[in-house]
């Protein structure tokens, strides 16, 4: 539709755009895509850790894990609500997830093979997510920014819990230590890929970075965030006593940053295309839950309609 002068002015003044404000269609579409992908990531992200709820090795950890996965469902809900303020509804968004027309974070296409993976997800995956998400708390779109504030608060709690799982394992039996190291070996590179392809070079093509930056949706480049994450995480790995699986990892005295080796972008693109270890499983699991629940949702709708009719008739009488 027609976009008034307010939008550009608001963006220029670093003010929030609200649902009632006019906005360019491309801005709206970009936000829907991004918020939906984020919401889907929360929902699909329930699966890798959900895989361990029934097997968590202590009741305390079981309770923490259940609460965490439940939080992810909650994040999904806030985010779908934020997307709905842009004039699309959750059912449509879920349908796009189920039919592969919208994506979720590729990190969730990796399997959780041991209990230590619950730790690694909290420490590395939630850690990387926070790094991506903190700037979004200042995103130009109000409802998204507000959702992110709430999400980030809980994520940092989850990150600490993940670190604590690994802390306990690395102080445990030899088998536990090996489990923790194995998890770090498998999750480190995929976590670095979470920041997306590099900002320059061959792999950077087709990204949305520039426009998103101009619109105040994105605040930092992929590579900057990735470097921040590495700088934050390496000392934590040292504290844990875990070796990160990168022979090129070393502190650069000149730049004050940790240098790291080349990322396997072929793997990144392969997983993104659908050939990751769990792509097929994640979507089919989600679709099965949705289909198994169709009769329940239909019943709820029918019941609500009956109640509304009864209420109307009562009021009319």
């Amino acid at each position: 539709g027609e976009v008034g002068p307010d939008f550009d002015a608001l963006i220029a003044a670093d003010q929030r755009i609200e649902p009632r404000d006019d906005m360019p269609e491309a801005y709206r579409r970009t936000l829907i895509r991004q918020i939906a992908q984020h919401a889907h990531s929360e929902i699909i992200g329930m699966q890798p850790e959900g895989n361990w709820i029934t097997r968590a090795p202590s009741l305390r950890r079981k309770a923490i894990l259940m609460a965490k996965v439940q939080d992810e469902a909650g994040h999904g809900l806030y985010l779908y609500s934020a997307a709905e303020t842009l004039g699309i509804d959750r059912a449509e968004l879920l349908d796009m997830l189920h039919t592969g027309r919208q994506k979720y974070s590729s990190i969730f296409n990796y399997p959780t093979l041991t209990w230590a993976d619950c730790g690694a997800i909290g420490w590395l995956v939630d850690g990387a997510a926070i790094m991506n998400q903190v700037p979004l708390c200042r995103c130009s779109y109000g409802p998204y920014a507000r959702a992110m504030i709430r999400v980030c608060k809980e994520e940092s709690f989850h990150q600490r819990q993940g670190f604590e799982i690994l802390w306990t394992l690395t102080r445990g039996t030899d088998a536990q230590k090996a489990m923790a190291q194995d998890a770090a070996d498998r999750w480190w590179w995929p976590a670095l890929m979470m920041f997306g392809p590099p900002d320059t070079g061959e792999a950077a093509k087709g990204g949305h970075t520039e426009q998103s930056m101009a619109w105040g949706i994105k605040r930092f480049s992929n590579d900057d965030l990735r470097q921040k994450f590495v700088d934050m995480t390496v000392p934590q790995a040292q504290k844990l006593g875990l070796t990160l699986p990168d022979p090129d990892l070393r502190f650069n005295e000149e730049t004050g940053h940790w240098d790291f080796g080349p990322i396997d972008w072929d793997e990144f693109w392969r997983v993104l295309r659908g050939d990751g270890p769990c792509n097929a499983e994640r979507v089919s699991w989600r679709v099965r839950a949705h289909e198994d629940g169709a009769w329940v949702r239909e019943a709820a709708t029918a019941y609500a309609a009956k109640q509304a009719r009864a209420h109307t008739q009562e009021s009319a009488a």
């Binding site: 097997r55 009741l59 259940m66 019941y303």
Partner: protein, 260 residues
């Protein structure tokens, strides 16, 4: 493995009682945990997770209490992870395999109707820990029961399909209901000691509650089934229990002596 209560000290009796209440809560929490990421809508992933967490919370206090009173000094994890099937004292209702959402709501309706009466009574328990659990749980269980009630209404009085499925779910749950209200020796002795409640005494109110919901949901309570479950309080379980424990305990048993 007997449930005879003769010769038990007061502490041991309370331990036995706490153990069976705790096992019901633990095993049902385990089943509810299976729903997370599989529920009909995201709100329900959260709700079932919440209910599971409440039950897990009850279980942890009750099992810790049991382990500290029975003279063995076992922790909640010792009892949850290193006890064999024959030592678990939960009723069969909670150990049945996850089925469809209608079955879950039928199970939750009965279980929470039972627990609502149970904890209402245990608020007056002479044992402080049991009383403490009850004081907290009455509010939790009120929410569980209301949640199940709302769904039974929606499913019973929703679509033709949901009506039929909810009715079928009530039938499938029916054989497991009576066991909740059986006067087992431990509960009876605990009730006499002022610590527990007689399961039979909880029946009238629970039954009245469920009947009301079922009839408001345009459903009927099934006839008394030919077969009914028995034996959970004696550690005699149904087929799904061994598999549930295998899954729950496997990692802990794979690392004896480890802390997590």
């Amino acid at each position: 493995m007997s449930t005879h209560t003769a010769g038990l000290t007061a502490s041991q009796l309370t331990a036995r009682y706490a153990l069976q209440l705790g096992d019901d809560a633990l095993v049902y929490a385990q089943r509810l945990g299976e729903w997370i990421s599989r529920a009909p809508q995201i709100e329900e992933d959260m709700a079932l997770g919440n209910i599971g967490l409440d039950l897990l919370g009850q279980a942890r206090v009750l099992l810790s209490h049991a382990g500290s009173l029975d003279g063995t000094g076992r922790t909640e994890d010792d009892l949850a992870y290193f006890r064999d099937e024959r030592g678990f004292r939960n009723v069969h209702l909670v150990e049945q395999e996850r089925s469809d959402f209608g079955f879950e709501m039928a199970r939750l309706l009965w279980f929470s109707a039972y627990q609502a009466e149970l904890y209402a009574a245990l608020v007056a328990s002479a044992d402080e820990v049991v009383q403490g659990v009850a004081l907290k749980a009455v509010k939790e269980v009120d929410y569980h029961r209301d949640h199940a009630t709302q769904w039974v209404l929606r499913l019973g009085d929703g679509t033709a399909e949901s009506h039929e499925r909810m009715q079928d779910a009530l039938t499938r749950v029916a054989p497991y209901v009576a066991e909740l209200f059986d006067d087992d020796p431990v509960s009876v002795a605990a009730a006499e000691a002022g610590v527990g409640a007689r399961p039979k005494s909880l029946w009238d109110n629970a039954f009245a509650y469920v009947s009301r919901v079922v009839s408001q949901a345009t459903l009927v309570l099934p006839e008394q089934p030919t077969w009914r479950s028995r034996g959970g309080r004696d550690g005699i379980h149904s087929r799904p229990m061994g598999y549930l424990l295998a899954e729950m305990q496997h990692i802990a048993r794979s690392h004896p002596g480890a802390t997590w």
